[in-house]
Amino acid sequence: MVKKHQLPLPSKQDLEWLERSPSSFESDNVHKIYDEIANHFSSTRYKPWPIISRFLESIGTNEIGLDAGCGNGKYIPLANHLFGLDRSINLLKHAHTAGDVVREVVLADALQSVTRKHVFDYAISIATIHHLATDKRRAESVQSLINAVSVNGGRILIYVWALEQGEDSRRAVPENSTTSSTSMGLDVWVPWVNKADGKVYNRYYHLFEKGELRSITEEAGRLSNVNLDIVQEGYEKDNWYIEVRTNGSVI
């Protein structure tokens, strides 16, 4: 058995802040932290996860993709034309030269559409939308992915942290918690002990429970008026994932 660390829960005041001003909440509890811990964090993020590697291997050599929430850009060298987008400038500086090649990256929020509609063949969102503070914002970010890819045959892969942590996980999720701001999943702090200054940074995460990722993906499809076919979904190493394919506009 791995030694488990109990994840702290946000206080009532924290959750009031989250509901009052989700963007300032994310700014302080996600973006600013990643900018502080970027160098140490990036040094620990180099191994691609199997589901995502397999997805990128299945992409045609001439297809172009969007990595919304690319972090340090560890997936960018695995595809030929993968554009990186992230909210942390210090992580992006790593992504900018991922694999020792100058890469196309933009500083932007995964909630917003900063490109023309439907120009990408595929989009990935890896370990990103669990940092958004409300159901509505998480669905909006999936909508941005849907808007970014082709209306017919556009492929999307989304990967988020699971509430259901496996036996090998170093994290333990508090049980029977009722402090969550949402009906599904759980809002927690995930501490990061930063090498450079020894400081502990509590990052905000929304842990997804079984069925939740599918439900917000389908909700985003409805809001975008785009039909989505589910290609695969499942659980891998403490994370939930879903792959969908667009199948035309809803008339």
Binding site: R87, L107, V119
Partner: protein, 128 residues
């Protein structure tokens, strides 16, 4: 880096600009650095991607940067174009890299800064 392939797809994210359809194209301004970065030529990629390119915007943007090498006004069928033209598109779309400058939304006038090759597409809370 901001290559013209990227410029050709980037839009202003301000809601008013998106809703009015005036979020595109962004206009280069104060361009202080253009690098030419050679890339492996792949005719299939260019032909494949061309359906997504706004050619009018590409031509106009290139002109605004002082380059008139795109002579054709419009392209009906990319597959019947000679390789010479595909090579030119390759150069224009993939090899020109604007490293320092701004991209301005002509509707809301927001100026998106390009710093050390990374464009900042973030908006202030009041602009969204």
């Amino acid at each position: 880096m901001v290559r013209l392939i990227t410029h050709n797809i980037l839009t202003c994210a301000a809601k008013a600009c998106v809703d009015s359809g005036k979020n595109y194209p962004l206009k280069f301004s104060n361009v202080q650095g253009i690098d030419i970065r050679e890339q492996e030529f792949n005719a299939d990629f260019i032909r494949n991607f061309f359906s997504k390119v706004d050619y009018g915007v590409l031509k106009e943007t290139l002109l605004s940067l002082g380059d008139d090498s795109l002579k054709v006004d419009s392209v009906e069928d990319i597959n019947t174009q000679p390789e010479e033209f595909i090579r030119l598109l390759h150069k224009v779309l993939l090899e020109m890299d604007i490293t320092q400058g701004e991209m301005v939304c002509t509707n809301c006038q927001h100026s998106y800064q390009i710093n050390e090759g990374i464009p900042n597409m973030l908006l202030g809370a009041h602009e969204i």
